[in-house]
């Protein structure tokens, strides 16, 4: 029974981690109708800049996170700047490929800067184990859950109740019409891409301490994000949260009781089955 609850907790933590990783992507896709296939490499970069700040410069964890987030935001902004023409042509195919290219550049640069060794992102939170009866987790796990809840809560509130949120929804629904409403859609795209960069680096800073990080990490690590975004509904904040939790629990239980190696593959099989059964559910 303890093992079941332990796996449930594990699953919930993993789920919140997935949620954190996915939020930038789902907003980018839902509001700006843009994709970023360099998402995984940005995650890797976020993990490594945090690690670098802490281990090379002794910068406190909190500050290191902020620095990473700023770098993430800048890179997101830069990517959109370079891709601007493609964004306006709404050339999703080209955007897919270009962001893949960006990912490879980031991957190469990070490998040159940080080397090929696996590193551990050690934080004051991850090094402390907590025990409650026979259950085990760390402060980092709690931090992940809290951060995810905060991010989702904030994002949802902003979208529903603020002016920026309304502007984002207008740009999402009809970018030319948004111009007639006096909205600068170009600026909106920049901000949203920067948000994606900020969100994924925050996620990395919070989640990466859970396992060793490598500069070869990339798409495959965050590919699980797809499942969250597609099942949860593109741009649907609440849906993404729930989908992430379900996915986390699924992965935790599948890994423990059936097979750890096939857990991700199994999740994808589930996704594919769902897509075949209900392809229309996923119209953005």
């Amino acid at each position: 029974m303890e093992n079941f609850i332990q796996q449930l907790i594990n699953g919930l933590v993993i789920g919140h981690a997935y949620a954190l990783i996915a939020i930038g992507w789902t907003i980018l896709l839902g509001v700006a109708r843009l994709v970023n296939f360099g998402h995984g490499e940005l995650y890797m970069l976020g993990a490594f800049t945090t690690w670098w700040a802490i281990s090379a410069y002794d910068i406190p964890y909190g500050l290191a996170i902020l620095i990473s987030m700023v770098i993430g935001g800048l890179i997101g902004f830069l990517m959109q700047l370079i891709m601007l023409r493609l964004t306006f042509r709404k050339d999703l195919i080209a955007i897919m490929i270009v962001t893949l290219g960006f990912g490879k550049v980031i991957s190469g640069v990070a490998s040159l800067l940080f080397g090929a060794n696996g590193e551990i992102l050690q934080t004051p939170l991850s090094s402390v184990d907590l025990y409650w009866n026979d259950l085990w987790f760390t402060y980092q796990d709690i931090a992940i859950v809290i951060t995810a809840l905060l991010m989702y809560g904030l994002t949802w509130l902003i979208i529903q109740y603020t002016r920026i949120g309304r502007m984002a929804r207008m740009v999402a629904e009809d970018p030319p019409l948004a111009a007639l409403y006096g909205i600068n859609a170009r600026l909106a795209y920049f901000l949203i891409f920067a948000f994606e960069g900020v969100a994924v680096t925050l996620a990395a800073a919070m989640v990466a301490p859970r396992s060793p990080i490598l500069t070869s990490m990339g798409f495959d690590e965050t590919i699980i994000t797809f499942i969250v975004v597609i099942i949860g509904g593109i741009g649907n904040v609440l849906g993404n949260y729930i989908a992430a939790l379900l996915l986390g629990i699924f992965i935790a239980f599948f890994s423990t009781y059936i097979s750890a190696a096939f857990a991700t593959a199994a999740a994808f099989v589930v996704l594919i089955v769902l897509l075949i059964a209900q392809p229309n559910r996923l119209q953005a």
């Binding site: 999703l92 897919m96 550049v105 190696a261 392809p279």
Partner: protein, 314 residues
């Protein structure tokens, strides 16, 4: 003179067969051109989907890997000859493509790309964990390519001996792509890409066209896999991975779209840089990524537009 073009093409085809010798005839030149040939065939399989159909399949490595693994297993574990393994590789990759086509039948483009990518990831997991195909160790010690036709044996132990097979495969690929583009399916694919609404109103079913193009492109990737298995003599799950995807993709978009020789030129440039002028794997990644960004953001028609613009000005 109508006979000029086919005649010139035939002469060029014959001349290029001797390219390795023209480059000095060393092992290095044979190896280089063999790899270029194999990757070019692979690139063409993606070219059909990206340039003609206008969709991004991130899963073509699945067809490539299927061909490679089929060849590896059939030859090293069942001792089959090259012709048999070729048939099996082509059949296997085509079947897999049919399966993929069915799964993705109703998905729109973007989701199609995600699903194809996830299939590649699933393939890696499968290959790594299935003992029959060697797990993470893969299959090594693949016997050299050997086939018998009409009592004559052909054995390809070195790249030099493999070259004619590769070259023939490349010519066949070029011919197939060329024919496809003039075929009905080829124009249907273009119509679907340029104006889906019009396509539907003309009675074309875009989903079906996508599936057909996928199934047509797969044996090319399977052929490349077959050749690669013999060339490298060792196959593991990396054949499903991003390295091959990235080269395919860059080559297809780099020089120009939907022009017969562009993927070949792209592959030649990329592989030459990697084999002859490499600064390390990390720099290779950076270079490929930068090429993609430059081409797509600033030269959307491919680098060849640089030259046509100049020509237009003079």
């Amino acid at each position: 003179m109508k006979i000029m073009k086919p005649l010139m093409t035939a002469l060029l085809a014959i001349a290029l067969f001797f390219a390795p010798q023209l480059m000095g005839g060393s092992n290095v030149s044979y190896s280089l051109l063999v790899i270029i040939g194999i990757f070019a065939i692979l690139a063409y399989s993606l070219d059909l989907v990206v340039s003609d159909l206008g969709e991004v399949s991130l899963g073509h490595t699945v067809f490539f890997g299927t061909g490679a693994y089929t060849t590896a297993v059939a030859s090293s574990q069942f001792g089959l000859g090259a012709l048999e393994t070729l048939m099996l590789a082509l059949a296997a990759s085509t079947l897999v493509a049919a399966f993929v086509g069915l799964i993705t039948l109703k998905l729109r483009e973007f989701i199609f790309s995600l699903v194809t990518y996830s299939l590649a990831v699933i393939s890696i997991t499968l290959a790594d964990n299935w003992m029959f195909v060697g797990g993470t160790d893969g299959i090594s010690g693949i016997p050299p390519l050997k086939f018998s036709i009409l009592g004559l044996d052909y054995l390809a132990r070195t790249d030099q001996q493999l070259w004619p097979v590769v070259y023939l495969g490349l010519l066949a690929t070029l011919y197939l792509v060329h024919t496809f583009r003039r075929s009905r399916l080829g124009s249907e694919a273009m119509t679907v890409q340029l104006n889906t609404g019009l396509a539907i109103m003309s009675g074309i079913n875009p989903m079906l066209v996508r599936m057909k193009v996928l199934v047509l492109s797969a044996p090319l990737a399977g052929l490349a896999g077959w050749l690669y298995a013999y060339q490298r003599a060792y196959i593991s799950s990396d054949v499903f991975g991003a390295y091959f995807l990235l080269i395919m993709l860059t080559a297809v978009i780099m020089i120009g779209r939907r022009q017969l020789l562009c993927p070949l030129i792209g592959v030649a440039l990329i592989i030459t840089q990697e084999k002859m002028f490499s600064l390390g794997a990390y720099w290779d990644n950076i270079i490929l990524g930068t090429i993609i960004i430059l081409v797509l953001c600033f030269f959307p028609g491919g680098l060849s537009r640089l030259f046509t613009r100049r020509v237009a000005h003079t």
